[in-house]
């Protein structure tokens, strides 16, 4: 029963832990890392939805089409997700870098947009 629930609970846990890290973060780069953890939660969720026991990857180079394979649509979605994650992380890091140059601190508690 636990094995049945494990992937979904793992995904939920990753997202929860990531958000907890972000809420209590004291450094923006740590916060960006926690964002990646939340994202990993979504990867686990999507890939687990597409998984099938006793199946190979949806690459039919060595095996003929028709051999059992996992869900390729989920893999395509996760690929897009990865690219999106990379893009957003790059932007966040650039913002953090510029902020650090100006304020010499990256503590979210210290920084507030409008005084």
């Amino acid at each position: 029963m636990l094995l049945r629930l494990l992937p979904w609970l793992a995904a939920a846990w990753l997202m929860a832990v990531g958000i907890y890290g972000m809420v209590t973060s004291r450094h923006y780069v740590h916060l960006i890392g926690c964002l990646s953890v939340v994202q990993s939660g979504t990867y686990v969720l999507l890939l687990a939805i597409g998984f099938v026991w006793h199946s190979g990857p949806p690459i039919f180079y060595d095996h003929p089409p028709g051999t059992p394979a996992v869900d390729p649509v989920m893999q395509a979605l996760v690929l897009t997700d990865v690219v999106v994650g990379a893009a957003v992380s790059a932007l966040l890091l650039a913002l953090a870098l510029q902020l650090h140059k100006r304020r010499n601190t990256l503590d979210p508690q210290e920084l507030e947009p409008i005084p």
Binding site: I19, M22, V38, L99, P113
Partner: protein, 594 residues
């Protein structure tokens, strides 16, 4: 080339233009890129208007790569163009065109990067409105978001970077929630096309997964649309972004989040009773709370852009309430309201941008009386502010009337006063600011504002900045009557999009009838206008008396509101999570009641 093949163009052409602009940015003079951007978006706007006309009879479905149900078992991505989606796209492209005029000569130091980003932004928003696939809507959602993050931090000042960081973090969590929601929907149905998912969810009675999926995706849309308690990012982002970017944010990006929520409610989750009753039971009051919070915070601001940002929050609350009624009249109301509000708010932000450009400030007190010698700008500003306050003539006024009528139609009579409060507070704040800036009347406080200086590039052609503002304001005023009927027709198809059986050819499309006008509510507009003028006068001439006599009971709550909106990312995240929990609890209650 048959008409259907014109459907991808509103998305593809701006993308191509953006890529070309990046390719030739060092070879070609800036004027050419400016002109290209204006012309491309204007052409797209005209095309979308034509598409809206054609789609009025029946929504058109376009399957990319011929991966449609008519061509085989494998499904691809489709764009289903209905008049609401095409009309929204026409407005988006048109507003971008006017904004490109507005930024003529601005952003020179980044060469064509700004224009490329804005063109991609336009394409993404149009794609968001036209698409019919759950993951595709996520892709365009993400494109919009990434561009918005970069543009918010453009000015590279402390406030801009911090505002952009908070904006990015909150909205990215929204993206991840949306991704998870799409995953749950896929797990429940094995499909990604919205109509097919809607049909399968209803057939399989997969209520728990459907509710979970809606809560996640709905939260993501509400974050983008800045409903309470997900709205904390909006004032910070609007205040620090360059004004042309704020024009786009308030004018189209934030309402487009609601458009997405509307699509979800109308197509994907229409057959899940728990979701529909959650919408009516929780989202309508949430919209009302947003309207009130936004309005009261707007009254507290002296920074013009933050004031306008809070007024966007307030009006979005009204739109959220209208949308969540899930009726055709509600949809007609919020479509009109979205259009009118977009025009008016865009005009107001353009005015703020012009003030920042020539007077180097957007603070009410700093600008006290300094814009006295700009009569045309003042006229444009005041007309827009009065429309914001509820002036009944014009698209925004008709929209407010329609929303009130729709609410009465389902028995939610209390929504009418909420609309009046929202219009009165936001309009009153805008009028008050205008009187201080353009007329130089009203009390001055002691001391100076602590906000940093706001200056935007000043040596831009004044006419090219003024013209878009005037076009928007005039269009809002004269468009009310003609568009009112079109909005009802568009709303009818919006709420009754073709079901999967229609799209796969098994059934013919039964065009929904256009409902009759639901009248009443015109005097509410005048009432709101009157109250707005009274509020403005009170804040201008009797501020101390207000503070001591009238407001002291509310003093603690106003102070608490200000502290809450202080802008730390950890707090905003906590509210986000709490909001997610609220929606979850709501859906549990809604499903039990059913």
């Amino acid at each position: 080339m048959n008409l259907l093949h014109w459907i991808p163009l509103p998305v593809v052409v701006p993308l191509l233009a953006a890529a070309l602009a990046l390719l030739v940015e060092k070879l070609v003079p800036r004027r050419v890129i400016d002109a290209l951007a204006v012309l491309v978006t204007a052409a797209i706007s005209v095309e979308c208007m034509a598409l809206a006309r054609v789609a009025a009879a029946q929504p058109m479905a376009y399957w990319y790569g011929q991966w449609g149900p008519a061509h085989g078992p494998v499904l691809g991505i489709s764009f289903v163009v209905d008049s609401a989606g095409a009309g929204a796209s026409a407005f988006i492209a048109g507003l971008f065109s006017l904004t490109f005029l507005f930024v003529w000569h601005y952003f020179e130091e980044v060469r064509a990067h700004f224009h490329a980003l804005m063109l991609m932004f336009c394409a993404a928003m149009i794609g968001f409105c036209l698409t019919h696939d759950l993951f595709n809507i996520f892709v365009w959602f993400e494109t919009m978001s990434v561009i918005a993050f970069a543009l918010t931090g453009y000015r590279l000042e402390d406030a801009a970077l911090e505002g952009a960081l908070n904006f990015t973090v909150i909205n990215t969590i929204g993206s991840f929630l949306m991704m998870a929601g799409v995953g749950l929907a896929y797990a429940a149905t094995g499909a990604l096309d919205m109509a097919l998912v809607g049909k399968t969810l209803a057939e399989r009675h997969a209520d728990v997964l459907a509710c979970g999926s809606f809560v996640l995706m709905g939260t993501a849309m509400l974050i983008k649309a800045a409903g309470v308690p997900f709205h904390f990012w909006l004032p910070d982002a609007h205040a620090v972004a360059p004004s042309p970017v704020s024009v786009i944010f308030s004018g189209v990006m934030v309402p487009v989040g609601l458009f997405g929520l509307g699509r979800l409610l109308a197509i994907v989750f229409a057959g899940i009773p728990a979701v529909v009753s959650l919408a009516h039971g929780l989202l309508v009051p949430l919209g009302a709370v947003t309207a009130i919070v936004g309005g009261f915070m707007a009254l507290q601001q002296t920074h013009l852009k933050r004031l306008l940002a809070y007024s966007t929050v307030s009006h979005v609350g009204v739109m959220l309430a209208a949308l969540s009624l899930v009726t055709v009249h509600g949809a007609a109301g919020w479509l009109l309201y979205m259009l009118g509000h977009g025009m008016v708010k865009a005009g107001l932000f353009m005015a703020a941008g012009m003030l920042a450009a020539v007077l180097d400030s957007v603070d009410e007190f700093e600008l006290y009386g300094r814009a006295r010698d700009r009569p045309v700008l003042a006229c444009g500003y005041f007309v827009a502010a009065l429309c914001l306050a509820g002036f009944p003539i014009g698209i925004m006024g008709s929209g407010a009337e329609a929303v009130e009528g729709a609410a009465k139609g389902v028995g939610d009579d209390w929504l009418g006063p909420i609309i009046i409060i929202s219009s009165a507070t936001t309009g009153g704040a805008a009028v008050r600011a205008g009187v201080r800036i353009f007329l130089g009347k009203g009390e001055l406080p002691q001391g100076r504002s602590t906000l940093p200086e706001e200056s935007e590039r000043g040596d831009r052609p004044w006419l090219l900045m003024l013209l878009p503002l005037l076009v928007l304001v005039v269009a809002n005023l004269i468009g009310g009557l003609p568009l009112e009927r079109m909005a009802r027709a568009a709303a009818a198809t919006f709420v009754h999009m073709p079901a999967w059986d229609v799209l796969s050819g098994k059934q013919a499309y039964a065009a929904p009838g256009v409902p009759t006008e639901v009248g009443g509510g015109e005097c509410s507009g005048w009432l709101a206008l009157g109250v707005a003028l009274v509020i403005a006068a009170a804040q201008l001439f009797a501020a101390k008396w207000l503070k001591h006599r009238v407001l002291w009971p509310a003093h603690m709550s106003i102070k608490a509101l200000r502290v809450l909106h202080a802008g730390r990312v950890g707090d905003q995240l906590a509210w986000l999570v709490a909001g997610l929990a609220m929606l979850t609890a709501g859906v549990v209650v809604a499903s039990v009641d059913w």
